[in-house]
Symmetry: C2
């Protein structure tokens, strides 16, 4: 019954941390190096690298090393499956509310 | 720079596990007890309770105890902020691809 989806697991886990979401928002404004990110977030290089590695493994960040400098940008994953999953949840919740509404209507109708 | 958002953290972390997503999909088809879920997922009551607690803390599942039986249903969170966040990421990725496209066009234009 459980649908195993490692990409979905990794993407949601990557997004569950505020610093990682912050890194993605920063990269949304343009490419940045690990040092840029460390400065922007007041973190050590090691700390930022750990977050970037998690984002990279989830496919949310691509990095490229040029000499001694590592550049980071968004992608390649487009979070399509994640969007679909969340939309499905919202639809299920709506349907549940509708069922509850129908039930209450019915109960009201059966009052004397 | 980092936007702390405990609800967003908790919801994404809750969604990062396939059993928890499976529980939500099951509840999308109607209310279920802890025992129903344990049977459906071939897990112990303790194991299911742990997952349900995480979902409940993230606002994705509501539980109600009637006598000795605990009933679970979806909600109350509608994952609106999560939808907005993911949509923003996708938009940033599109913009990045556009900028890259413009750059490549420019480079092509400057060829002899």
């Amino acid at each position: 019954m459980v649908q195993y989806s490692p990409p979905l697991d990794a993407a949601f886990a990557a997004l569950s941390d505020p610093t990682r979401r912050g890194i993605l928002e920063r990269l949304g404004r343009g490419e940045a190096t690990i040092s840029d990110l460390a400065a922007a977030f007041g973190m050590t290089l090691t700390g930022i690298k750990k977050h970037v590695r998690i984002l990279e493994q989830a496919g949310l960040v691509t990095t490229k090393k040029v000499g001694r400098v590592r550049y980071c940008r968004l992608g390649p994953r487009r979070l399509e499956d994640e969007t679909t999953w969340i939309a499905a949840y919202r639809q299920m919740l709506e349907a549940q509310l509708d069922r509850l509404g129908d039930f209450l209507e019915q109960e009201k109708g059966s009052l004397p």
